[in-house]
């Protein structure tokens, strides 16, 4: 009886997959939800190569202290990377390079947004993680952000090491393998098929649940990054409300709701070390959760 229920569940998996794309919350849409590419790959490759060339030129100019011209090249690189993405061609490398370009231009918030977007496509990329850590380290608000504990990352490693498509491939592969096992078990009766079946079906269950969690975390939860130097968070959605506190470029926030041109945000802010200890000034020691309203124009959605 149990085996039959399992089989029924497995046969329903394709139907479940249909439901996943609709599982978005009503909060603001993430920037990278536009899978239809409007520009051909050749054009994207050309733009990418040109943008890279501009960036490298800018690096040389920075080294020779010609900042004005370097800035011009960086601007051009930014426009080219943005054009690739605006054309619906989403790629982790493009986001990463765009993040680097924004960092060079001193726009920490936009750099963090693009690194975070790149991380969705390249979760195992060490360069990306290093850059993100470095940029987060120079932001004014020392936040303890929403980083997940290392223990959890180790236990559920597949959830953090695989991107959405890779998890999908794992789930589909397990599904096909399981179907083959079921097919063969209908023709040939071997006792050990039962164990293989339970193993595969459990793995498939974990893979599908992980995929659902991944999609929810990336699309169901709206996160944003402050992209202005200083942003006043107010008690209510309007200029008439008094400022509650300030957050700065690069701070990450959770969007809880919106009203007109305002987001209701949830910010986790770290508290700096102040005195009398061995820790260096500015070292984060605890966190404080604050809520308030800020204008949409100051936030870039991840």
């Amino acid at each position: 009886m149990k085996i039959r229920l399992w089989v029924l569940y497995l046969l329903l998996i394709p139907c479940l997959n249909f439901g996943i794309p609709n599982a978005h919350c009503e909060s603001p849409k993430s920037e990278i939800r536009n899978p239809k590419s409007k520009i051909p790959k050749d054009e994207a490759v050309k733009l990418f190569a040109d943008a890279n060339e501009n960036y490298l030129q800018a690096m040389k100019l920075i080294a020779s202290k010609n900042t004005a011209e370097a800035d011009q090249h960086l601007r051009e690189a930014t426009v080219q990377y943005e054009a690739i993405l605006a054309g619906g061609f989403k790629n982790g490398q493009v986001y990463y390079n765009l993040g680097n370009t924004y960092y060079r231009r001193g726009e920490l918030g936009k750099a963090i947004v693009n690194y975070r977007r790149a991380a969705r496509f390249m979760p195992r990329n060490a360069d990306l993680n290093a850059n993100l850590r470095l940029v987060k380290g120079v932001t004014e608000d020392k936040e303890l952000s929403t980083e997940i504990p290392v223990v959890v990352k180790r236990i559920f490693f597949w959830l953090f090491l695989l991107n959405r498509n890779e998890l999908s491939i794992v789930a589909v592969s397990l599904y096909v393998a399981l179907m083959i096992v079921l097919f063969v078990s209908n023709i040939r009766k071997y006792a050990w098929f039962r164990r293989v079946f339970i193993g595969f079906s459990s793995a498939l269950f974990v893979a599908v649940v992980s995929l659902g969690i991944k999609i929810y975390l990336e699309q169901g939860v709206s996160r944003g990054v402050i992209v202005t130097s200083k942003c006043e968070v107010r008690y209510g959605p309007g200029e008439e409300y008094e400022p509650k506190f300030e957050i700065h470029n690069g701070s990450e926030c959770l969007i809880e709701g919106e009203k007109d041109d305002w987001y209701r945000v949830y910010v986790k802010v770290g508290v700096k070390q102040d005195k009398g200890s061995d820790a260096s000034p500015g070292e984060k020691i605890s966190s404080d959760v604050r809520r308030g309203w800020l204008q949409k124009k100051y936030v870039d959605m991840m």
């Binding site: 490759v45 619906g88 989403k90 490398q93 959405r164 589909v172 008439e240 400022p243 700096k272 102040d274």
Partner: protein
């Protein structure tokens, strides 16, 4: 013996001191009040007038007030009361009179007077109205309009933005009225920040000569925007619980019919639901004036003071000094902003953002609290002698003007720090340095861009959204279902003879009919009809899983009927079987055309039966 007297003497002295003090306590705040149980009554009602002397119990009787339109039925009945609440003793003595109205109209109960220690105390006059309306019958709900009512009030009708406004909700019910199940629905305070004030207050209040028990809930409101702001009505629901004694010999549950059990389990209580709502309140909220607004003002409204302190007063250049700035007072503590440091030159001190700690110290009458800012500053020059002056501005709504508190600089001693080694941006080749010091972190920078064109593909297409892939996911499922059904079919064919025979019956019958066709071509009528008869009977035997010998005409008809086959087919089967047997053994085999026709009929009939029996 002497010792016993000493103890006795001490006790007497203690008692004298105690009662002396008590007398003093009691003697304070002497007053005389007059109350009635109702102030509108009919000629059939009785009025209960109570004269209460508060603060003492050893007075003469208060004088009976002049009352027109009433006669004294009996009284006074005297009761004395001593209450100790929070260590305070309250004594009172009540004189209760029962009065009978003699005429309709409005009457005034004059003041009563009592004399105590040479001073005269008098009660307030009361108004009572006698009407001729018939009293409601006992079966009807009591008139609760005057017995229970609610009020919502604010301590001011005009306020500034962020000024503290006290909202009071008061629930009145006549003393002695059994009220229970109180459910309070707080008013909506949109556009206000709110802080609860203290615990619920309970006290007694006399209104129109009637004593009410009062429950009061208070909230501090801080309007966040200017304009006409409305506080919606507050509501309260409660039940008036009236005890109704049942008859002594109630027929049911005689075991538990005792009054004790009735009281204990709350039986025979009638509950009258009462719902009351207050009026809404409109508050005019004024914006803070622009005139005279100091540049240090950042939104604090209330009455505040400030204390500043620091622990370290002797430091080296670059060492941290923590300034503790405590702003306290009445108002919205949450919105108190950080005081401003008046630094002469920006290069004198390095300033770090302040941490704050908010604490509400009192919620009794108004919100009072304290917000402590801990700000770290680092002196950058050894010649600095003072910390910066600290300035805090706020708007005082009582005075209607901005106020600024300035705390004078605190003297400090700054010593020169150790010589600072300049940062080396190149690796040192100084051989005198130990090896481990040669590895230095020069700078931190981001890693370079990625330029792998072969890996540049559109990753935005989610696999799980691809309709083709989702469609393909159904194929393995279909294959599994098909293999499962096929496997089950094979198993059944192998294990279930009836199923196997039924499945194969049509094919076997067709084969036999082909054989009959061959015999027909050889023009062997007897053999032909034998083949037809056998094909028909074997088909039916296979379909019904019976032996061919037992597939007689009657049995076949019964089985066909059980399977719901129509009368026409059953009749046809019976007719053909009879006809084939007849021709098989007789000389009337018929012409070749008739035989062809018989073959065709047999084929059609088997096809029809197959359709119906499948």
């Amino acid at each position: 013996m002497m010792r016993v007297y000493n103890v006795y003497f001490c006790m007497v002295i203690s008692a004298m001191i105690f009662f002396g003090c008590m007398g003093k306590i009691f003697a304070r705040d002497i007053r005389l009040t007059a109350t009635v149980d109702q102030n509108i009554l009919t000629l059939q009602d009785r009025l209960e007038l109570t004269l209460t002397i508060h603060g003492t119990q050893d007075t003469a009787h208060p004088s009976f007030p002049t009352i027109e339109g009433f006669t004294l039925l009996y009284g006074p009945s005297i009761s004395a009361q001593t209450r100790i609440i929070n260590g305070e003793v309250a004594v009172s003595k009540a004189y209760t009179y029962a009065l009978q109205p003699t005429a309709k109209g409005k009457f005034t109960i004059g003041p009563s007077v009592v004399e105590y220690k040479g001073e005269k105390y008098s009660s307030q006059p009361l108004s009572v109205e006698v009407v001729d309306a018939p009293r409601q019958s006992a079966s009807q709900a009591p008139n609760l309009e005057k017995l229970v009512f609610v009020e919502l009030s604010v301590d001011k009708n005009e306020a500034y933005v962020y000024e503290q406004v006290i909202l009071s909700f008061t629930f009145y019910f006549q003393k002695g009225l059994p009220v229970g199940d109180i459910d309070y629905d707080a008013p909506s305070t949109k556009n206000f920040m709110e802080e609860k004030l203290g615990d619920q207050r309970q006290y007694e209040e006399i209104r129109d000569g009637i004593i009410y028990n009062v429950l009061e809930l208070r909230t501090a409101l801080f309007p966040m925007v200017s304009g006409e702001l409305t506080v919606s009505p507050a509501k309260v629901k409660c039940n008036l619980i009236v005890q109704q004694r049942r008859g002594r010999n109630a027929p049911s549950d005689s075991l538990f019919g005792d009054a004790f059990f009735d009281d204990f389990f709350g039986r025979d209580q009638k509950r009258y639901p009462v719902e009351r709502a207050t009026e809404s309140i409109t508050l005019r909220v004024k914006p803070l004036p622009e005139q005279g607004k100091p540049k240090e003002f950042k939104g604090a409204v209330g009455t505040f003071n400030m204390e500043v302190s620091t622990q370290a007063q002797r430091v080296k250049v670059g060492d941290p000094i923590t300034l503790s700035m405590s702003v306290y007072g009445e108002g919205n503590i949450q919105t108190i902003h950080e005081p401003v440091l008046a630094v002469d030159k920006e290069s004198d001190f390095k300033l770090y953002p302040a941490e704050s700690n908010t604490q509400i110290t009192s919620r009794e009458d108004v919100i009072r609290g304290r917000k402590v800012f801990s700000k770290v500053i680092e002196p950058q020059k050894p010649e600095l002698k003072f910390t910066p002056a600290i300035v805090f501005s706020f708007f005082d709504p009582r005075a209607g003007q901005y106020k600024t508190i300035t705390k004078e600089p605190i003297p400090i001693t700054v010593e020169a720090g150790e010589h600072e080694v300049p940062i080396q941006l190149t690796l040192s080749h100084d051989k005198t340095l130990p090896m481990k010091q040669q590895v230095q972190l020069l700078t931190e920078d981001i890693l370079p861009i990625m330029t792998n064109l072969s890996a540049l593909r559109n990753q935005g297409n989610d696999i799980y959204r691809n309709p083709f892939i989702i469609g393909c996911l159904f194929l393995p499922a279909v294959a599994v279902i098909a293999s499962f059904l096929l496997s089950r079919h094979k198993e059944r064919l192998a294990s279930d003879i009836g199923y196997a025979r039924a499945r194969r019956a049509h094919a076997v019958a067709k084969k036999r009919l082909e054989g009959a066709r061959t015999v027909l071509r050889q023009n062997q009528p007897g053999e032909f009809y034998a083949c037809l008869s056998r094909a028909m009977s074997d088909y039916l035997a296979d379909k019904f899983n019976v032996t061919p010998a037992s597939a007689t005409e009657d049995k076949v008809a019964d089985l066909l009927k059980q399977r719901g086959v129509g009368d026409d087919i059953r009749g046809e089967v019976s007719r053909l079987l009879t006809d084939f047997d007849h021709r098989r053994f007789s000389q009337e085999s018929g012409t070749l055309d008739e035989m062809e026709h018989a073959l065709k009929l047999a084929e059609e009939l088997i096809t029809k039966m197959e359709r119906q029996l499948s």
